[in-house]
Every structure is written in structure tokens, then in C-alpha cells.
């Protein structure tokens, strides 16, 4: 199991992910999540007192879905796109910490295809888009044994400017 994390993202960026999914519907959208893992742990707000490390999403890097042969149910980001996202992240003192994509007319849960092609450590945000309208948005991280994903809580929060 990966370390339990919460994903922190602003309402503005969450809305941009949804909007990207709506824009490309009925095709899948995709993009990189730029941010950093927080050094400060946050208290679990479920009353148990357990600390939970956080991953902050601070920018998006929207990409073009390279699967033009099957864009309704597949997305692809090339190595060149990954390098471009990493360059953009580095220029802002951030890291590529994950990826987002949409599931047109499918639930926001990872498919077997998602699992089979996933990398560990990254956060995978999935937004369901039904009839062109964004619905649920979830986040997942691949377990160390690759057998399944673990869900990652998404917390919508505003971050103070630095």
C-alpha cells in the first residue's frame, strides 16, 4: 500500500480539470498535475489524531490525448509530453506528481487498463463526464504490488500565496 495521502487542490484547478473533460467530451482528456509533497503533516480530521501527509497540486499542464485511434475510451501521454511537463514543473520549482484524465460516460474509478499501465507514486485523478457534464472526481495511487489502486482523498482548499 502506498503511504496514505490527501490530495490538496484548489477549487479553481479542480474546476479546470472538469472543464477540460467537458471540452474534449466524448473523448478522454488528459494532463499533468504539478505540485509537491508537503513536508508538514496534517491532522486527520476524523478525530483519531493520525497524521496524514499531503500532496499539493499547484498547477495543471493540460495535454493532447495522443490516442487518436480510440480517444473515447483511451488516453496516452508520450515520453516527449512527460518531459515537457517535467520541464514546465521544474521551471516553477515544482514536480510532476500525477496525471488526470476523464472517463466519458464511465464512472470515476480506475479500469483494469488504468491499473495495468499505471506507475506507482503518481496520483491519478479521474473525472467522470456524463453526457458532456462533469460529475465525480476521484484520485488514486497504485499499490506497491501493482495489484490494485488505493483511493486518495481529495481536499479542496485554497493555499496562501507565497
Amino acid at each position: 500500500m502506498p503511504d496514505a495521502t490527501e490530495l490538496w487542490i484548489s477549487g479553481h484547478l479542480a474546476e479546470k480539470i472538469r472543464a477540460h473533460g467537458a471540452e474534449t467530451y466524448p473523448h478522454e482528456c488528459c494532463g499533468a498535475l504539478l505540485g509537491r509533497d508537503s513536508n508538514a503533516v496534517i491532522e486527520n480530521d476524523r478525530g483519531k489524531g493520525a497524521a496524514t501527509p499531503a500532496r499539493e497540486i499547484l498547477q495543471l499542464f493540460p495535454l493532447v490525448n495522443r490516442r487518436d485511434d480510440s480517444p473515447r475510451n483511451r488516453f496516452s501521454v508520450t515520453a516527449g509530453d512527460v518531459l515537457a511537463a517535467e520541464k514546465a514543473a521544474s521551471a516553477q520549482g515544482l514536480e510532476v506528481v500525477g496525471w488526470y484524465h476523464s472517463h466519458p460516460d464511465h464512472p470515476a474509478r480506475p479500469s483494469e487498463y488504468d491499473r495495468d499501465h499505471a506507475w506507482p507514486w503518481y496520483s491519478y485523478i479521474i473525472v467522470s463526464v456524463h453526457n458532456g457534464t462533469p460529475q465525480d472526481m476521484t484520485s488514486w495511487r497504485l499499490n506497491d504490488d501493482r495489484a490494485e489502486f488505493s483511493p486518495e482523498g481529495i481536499e479542496i482548499r485554497h493555499r496562501a500565496a507565497v
Binding site: R74, D81, L83, R109, W119, W121, R146
Partner: protein, 99 residues
């Protein structure tokens, strides 16, 4: 200088948080073998159960994709840099865990 293998972010937790490792290796395959011997947990994320490089794992020797060279038999020499660059893929389909 031996061959330097650059480790991408998603694999660093399995390599002691290192971003690179160095080995003496005559081929890419040999270098990746040393890497996964030293950091055993990396193996399943780089290779399938039957020992093939996963399709979303891109390997470059000094900026040349090994798919266009000799794949894992691509020769390496001291001072070369091997980069492991992810591709990202996924999509909707049968629900994970559904019957």
C-alpha cells in the same frame, strides 16, 4: 566513469530515493539488470512477469530510444547515460474489480 542510469520520480521511492545509480555494464539490459538486482522492488514496475520491458517504459541511451537501436542489447560504454522515461496511458473500460 561507469554507465549512469537516471531513475524517474515514480521509481525513486523504491531506489532509496535516489535519482540515479551507476554500474559497469556492456549493454542496456545488463545495466537494467544491475539496477533491479540492487533495487529489487523496481523490477515489477519495469518488467512484465515474463521479463519484457513494460510498454510504457521508455529507455534512452544518451537521448536515443533503444527501440530504434538494439533494444536491451544496445551496447553501452563508460560515461553513457541511460534514462528511463515514463509514458502515461489509461482509459475507461470494464470497471476495475467488477465482475
Amino acid at each position: 566513469m561507469p554507465v549512469k542510469v537516471m531513475i524517474p520520480s515514480p521509481l525513486r521511492p523504491y531506489a532509496g530515493k535516489r535519482d540515479s545509480a551507476e554500474f559497469s555494464a556492456r549493454t542496456v539490459g545488463e545495466a537494467l539488470g544491475h539496477l533491479t538486482t540492487e533495487f529489487g522492488e523496481l523490477r515489477k514496475h519495469l518488467f512484465t512477469d515474463d521479463g519484457k520491458l513494460r510498454s510504457f517504459v521508455n529507455v534512452y541511451v544518451n537521448d536515443e530510444d533503444i527501440r530504434y537501436l538494439a533494444k536491451e542489447n544496445t551496447p553501452t560504454k563508460d560515461g553513457d547515460t541511460i534514462s528511463i522515461i515514463p509514458s502515461i496511458a489509461g482509459g475507461s473500460g470494464p470497471l476495475y474489480g467488477s465482475r
